[in-house]
């Protein structure tokens, strides 16, 4: 079993990158691999509460983040300084917070690191 770290760096609706990152994470988790998520930079916006995107334009795919444990993903990290840069918005889940040093340790401790 390999340990995957997926680093989410894009805001949810600017492009399909955020959705693709989530789909990848769920697919890998379905193969019983260990998956951790790290939200960083604009990526932290994916976890914001009450997104209410226009349903005609976007599917609110980020709702899946509230059920991550059912999908087999339990380790969710958020870059502390990124969150501070967005004035610490309310998040839809309770992540573990990571500073720069902890992030570098995270990257070292995973076999495969994917930047999305």
């Amino acid at each position: 079993m390999k340990k995957y770290l997926i680093i989410m760096q894009h805001s949810p609706y600017e492009s399909s990158l955020a959705l693709e990152g989530l789909e990848f994470a769920l697919a890998i988790a379905a193969f019983n691999q260990e998956v951790s998520l790290l939200f960083k930079g604009p990526g932290v916006l994916q976890l914001m509460n009450n997104q209410n995107p226009d349903p005609m334009m976007y599917k609110e795919f980020t709702k899946a983040y509230t059920g991550l444990s059912l999908f087999g993903i339990t380790d969710v990290y958020v870059c502390q300084s990124s969150l501070a840069a967005y004035n610490n918005p309310n998040l839809m889940l309770q992540p573990q917070f990571a500073d720069a040093l902890q992030i570098s340790t995270l990257i070292k401790n995973h076999d495969i690191v994917l930047n999305v």
Binding site: L26, K59, K63, A64, L70, F71, G72
Partner: protein, 103 residues
């Protein structure tokens, strides 16, 4: 029954679903719906609207286990109810779109 289906037998329009439509879709799959089937179908729909995603078989097992316990939260039980790719077949009868992920 006058409803639109995709070429793979999924409901073309998610809002067309009613319990009667589910009976019809199940019939197309050679399944006679029982209380046990309904438990899973209702859970599928709840899951889909809550998380905006279709569960994979593994995820469905976890969700059923959480709701109805170990006896039902396993893939053998689910495959007995929905013999042809449980997660996909239950998804179809629950009137939800074909899952993007195939697993």
């Amino acid at each position: 029954m006058d409803i639109k289906l995709t070429s793979e037998g999924f409901l073309a329009n998610i809002s067309d679903w009613t319990p009667e439509v589910a009976e019809y879709l199940a019939q197309q799959q050679d399944i006679k719906l029982t209380t046990e089937h309904w438990e899973v179908i209702n859970l599928m729909r709840e899951f889909y609207f809550k998380y905006n995603a279709s569960p994979s078989i593994r995820t469905l097992v976890n969700a059923v286990k959480q709701q109805y316990g170990e006896d039902k939260g396993n893939s053998i039980y689910l495959h007995k109810l929905f013999p042809n790719k449980a997660a996909v077949q239950a998804n179809l009868i629950a009137g939800l779109p074909k899952p993007i992920r195939c697993i």
